[in-house]
Each structure stands twice: as structure tokens, then as C-alpha cells.
């Protein structure tokens, strides 16, 4: 059985499928040899959800998807709730709507470690249903700057960040296994220059926009690939707030 997940379904539920021999596929992430087909949703829509839906249809066509565990509710954005309802009503794709209201914190040592930001993000998205690699040493560091938000469609943005950049927002909630923890999602360390990232057309942009204002950070909105102008804007922010201080 092949089970696709969207967001962070309850861990026990995922474990129950794994114990029965299911192969898990993270539908938020690129699937090798299955390019995103932008034909299922309006153009002005979150790129990550476009990828999720494209992955669902592509895998289903290839007979490599038996069930979708779709997180809806406050542990995810409203987009997936609407998409799940549409899939349920108009396709034969089995979709199980689930909510993850776990409040037991697992900790977030990856987010606050000294690993490069892109490496941190890879570890976190790869540990949704797998344990983090054994022997990984995660020493807590003082943050030089911050990245707030969801795992981006294009990870190259993370390569712009200096050493000891900490991860905040929903990414931290992911690592903590508490994706509905709004307080943790809104937490940033005061005084740390932070990029408040959002995918274009994401409902969470309301958080990113206003948290950036509140904390004097930089609101960064990206649709798919990082543009040269957005890259330059981030570089200038880091120049003024990190490197010149």
C-alpha cells in the first residue's frame, strides 16, 4: 500500500500504516520524474498545494497511490481542506481528512542548531514520518538571523542565510510535532533579524506580513523559484542587519 501524506498527519496514524508495511510518500515534496503540472488549480494559488495536487494525480495515474492522508484544520492551511473536499466529491482518489492537534512537544533542536539552514530544512521535512539520523549532534547556537515560515517550494532561499540562522514558524512546529501550535508558530527571538517568508497566495501570508511589521523583519513572498530581485532584497537585509553589525 502506498500512502501519500500532506502536511503533518498524526504520528500514531502514520506509524500504524508503516507497521502494516505501507510505503509513505510526502506529497508536499517533489516526486522524482513527476514534474508539477499546473492544470488542476487556478494560477493564483499556493505553489506547494499545486505541487501536492499534481503529485496526487500523477501518482494515481501511475498506480502508485492508494490513499491520501490530508491534514486539514488549524494544523494546516485552509487550502488543503478545500482541495480535499473537491477531491472527495469529484475523483476516485481515496482521501482521509485528518487533524493533528498534538500538544506534546518533541523539541526543536534542529531549528536552533548550527547546521546550515538548508540542511536543517531537509532534515525536518525528511523526519515527518522517519526518525532523524542516529548520531546527529545538534548543538544549540546563538542565532545570527532567522527564517520564519513553512518549508519553501524553492529551498535555494535558505542558501542565502549565514551560519547559525535559526528556523521559526511552522517549520519549527513541524520539528516539534505540534503543527497546530499557533503560539510556537508565532514565536521569534526578539532582536534577531528575521525573514518572514510566505509562499505567494498562502493564507499564512497574513501572519508573515504582520509579524514582519511587528518585529522589524523582512516580509518575503515567493511564488515558485526565487527571483533575482527577491534574492537581492534578502541580501540587502542581511547586509544592513547582520553583516554591518
Amino acid at each position: 500500500m502506498i500512502v501519500g501524506i500532506v502536511g503533518v498527519p498524526p504520528l500514531e496514524l502514520m506509524k500504524s500504516y508503516i507497521e502494516r508495511g505501507a510505503v509513505m510518500v510526502d506529497l508536499d515534496e517533489p516526486v522524482p520524474e513527476m514534474p508539477v503540472r499546473d492544470v488542476y488549480l487556478p494560477n493564483a494559488y499556493c505553489s506547494i498545494l499545486k505541487r501536492v495536487v499534481s503529485n496526487i494525480f500523477s501518482l494515481r495515474e501511475a498506480k502508485r497511490l492508494d490513499l491520501v492522508l490530508a491534514t486539514v484544520g488549524k494544523c494546516k492551511c485552509d487550502g488543503m481542506r478545500n482541495i480535499s473536499s473537491w477531491l472527495e466529491r469529484t475523483t476516485d482518489i481515496p482521501v482521509m481528512k485528518v487533524e493533528n492537534d498534538n500538544t506534546a512537544p518533541a523539541g526543536h533542536p534542529i531549528c536552533t542548531s548550527g547546521l546550515p539552514a538548508a540542511e536543517k530544512m531537509e532534515l525536518i521535512v525528511n523526519s515527518v514520518f522517519n526518525p532523524i539520523p542516529e548520531g546527529l549532534e545538534l548543538e544549540r547556537t546563538a542565532p545570527t538571523c532567522g527564517f520564519w515560515g513553512v518549508p519553501p517550494y524553492d529551498f535555494s532561499i535558505l542558501g542565502l542565510l549565514p551560519d547559525n540562522a535559526h528556523l521559526y514558524g511552522w517549520t519549527r512546529c513541524m520539528e516539534n510535532k505540534t503543527p497546530a501550535d499557533i503560539d510556537l508558530e508565532c514565536h521569534v527571538d526578539p532582536g534577531v533579524p528575521t525573514l518572514f517568508f510566505t509562499q505567494s497566495f498562502c493564507q499564512k501570508s497574513a501572519f508573515a506580513f504582520n509579524l514582519a511589521k511587528k518585529h522589524g523583519g523582512l516580509f518575503v513572498e515567493v511564488d515558485k523559484k526565487l527571483t533575482r530581485s527577491t534574492k537581492a532584497k534578502i541580501e540587502a537585509f542581511l547586509e544592513f542587519n547582520v553583516y554591518r553589525k
Binding site: G216, E221, S229
Partner: protein, 236 residues
């Protein structure tokens, strides 16, 4: 403003056949060129500069269009901040650069940059659309109505859709365009946090209708602010 006649009026001043040392702000539509030896400044279409790179020795470069063989490349926001600090004596100020592709600003407090942003995604390309519409409608910017209401302009394309909708309902081209400009000015003021006084940089500085569309006091600094920034950095 992007008047549409820059090519006729200023491109002829570019020295021919020379490989002169220059500071360049190579924007989406126009390149601002400062000749180091003579102090002469010209504005030429960026596409022309990019086709004639052999004419120049790029001592320092900033701008949207990348020039790979420049001796020094400076981030546009850094150039804007340095240029504004060189031109403005006040300890606290906000300067907004309105170009063809996007707008960007820096807040300065006690002569230090404390805030900045750059609208790189939705909301972009408004300057270029002002230029295109000015040419398309053959509009005299000085003749635009001054009491226009604001048209909601989400981005250049959606704003243009709303503009043509107004015209289809009977508004004059001039009235609709004036409302479009008010919408862009409103967006700019929102982006910079609605200061009482705003210094303006970039191509839209030369558009009196655009400058007057702001609700706050505006002080145009011209199109060479980023060049001033490059000059300032060269001295350091």
C-alpha cells in the same frame, strides 16, 4: 517620468568609440551612466547599453540587469541607501525608489538604515506600465486632473484591467489614468509606512502627475540617486 522620448533627447550624448570608466545603474528599462573622468551623466535604454558593453569600463555597477564584467557590483538597496545619505543631510528620512520594474525604500534613523523593503512580486511592474500607458494613450502628464480618486491597483496587470474597465464605462483616458496613478502612489505610501515626508528617487520622479498623486509631502531627488551611492562607496 518615463516620457517615452528619452532615446531622442539624451542617448546622443553618449561618447562614441570610447571605453570610458563608468558607474552604471542599469535598470529594467533605462541605464543611468556616470562617466568618472568627465562627470558627465547620461540615460540610455538598458537594452542599448547591454548591446554595447565594449564601449564601457564598468568600475561599479548596480541595477536589475546584471553586468558580469563590472569591477564592483553593489546591491540596489545598498546603493539607494548610500546615495540618499550622500544627498540628504537630515538624520531621519525615508526614500523611495520608483523604477520601471519595482519600488524599493529605505528608512534611515540617526543616519543608519533601520528598515527597508522591495516589492518584487505582486505590485511590481507598475512603473513600466505607466510608461507604456503614457505612450499608448499619448497622455500629457501635466494635463491630468488633480482631483482624481484612487483606483485599487493590486499589481500592474490587475490595475490595468481596472483602468480599462473604467474607460469602458465612460471615463476619459486621462481621468482613468490619473486614478491609476493615485492607486500606485497609495500602494507606495503603504509600503513605506505612510511618512509625512517622502524623498523620491528613480524614473517616476520626473512624472509630475505621479509625484502629485501622493498624499504626503514629496521631494524628488532625480534619477541618479543610486549613482550617487556608487560614487559614495567608491570613495570609501
Amino acid at each position: 517620468m518615463f516620457t517615452g522620448n528619452e532615446e531622442q533627447t539624451i542617448s546622443a550624448t553618449s561618447p562614441a568609440g570610447s571605453s570610458a570608466g563608468v558607474l552604471v545603474d542599469c535598470g529594467t528599462s533605462y541605464a543611468k551612466v556616470h562617466y568618472i573622468d568627465t562627470g558627465e551623466r547620461v540615460i540610455i535604454p538598458s537594452r542599448r547599453l547591454l548591446k554595447q558593453m565594449e564601449l564601457y569600463e564598468f568600475v561599479a555597477f548596480t541595477g536589475h540587469n546584471y553586468i558580469k564584467n563590472a569591477k564592483r557590483t553593489v546591491n540596489e538597496l545598498v546603493a539607494l541607501a548610500e546615495g540618499a545619505l550622500a544627498l540628504i543631510d537630515e538624520p531621519d528620512f525615508t526614500v523611495l525608489d520608483s523604477g520601471a520594474r519595482d519600488v524599493k525604500y529605505v528608512h534611515v534613523r540617526d543616519r543608519r538604515v533601520v528598515g527597508m523593503d522591495w516589492n518584487t512580486e505582486c505590485g511590481a511592474f507598475t512603473g513600466q506600465i505607466i510608461e507604456l500607458l503614457t505612450r499608448y494613450f499619448e497622455i500629457d502628464a501635466a494635463a491630468l486632473p488633480r482631483d482624481a480618486e484612487r483606483l485599487p491597483v493590486v499589481c500592474g496587470v490587475l490595475g490595468m484591467t481596472a483602468l480599462f474597465d473604467l474607460i469602458s464605462q465612460g471615463a476619459t483616458h486621462e481621468a482613468a489614468f490619473a486614478m491609476f496613478l493615485r492607486g500606485i502612489a497609495f500602494n507606495c505610501e503603504t509600503l513605506v509606512g505612510r511618512p509625512e515626508k517622502l524623498y523620491l528617487s528613480g524614473g517616476l520622479c520626473d512624472n509630475p502627475a505621479f509625484v502629485k498623486s501622493f498624499s504626503c509631502e514629496t521631494i524628488p531627488l532625480g534619477r541618479f540617486v543610486l549613482i550617487e551611492g556608487l560614487k559614495s562607496l567608491e570613495k570609501k
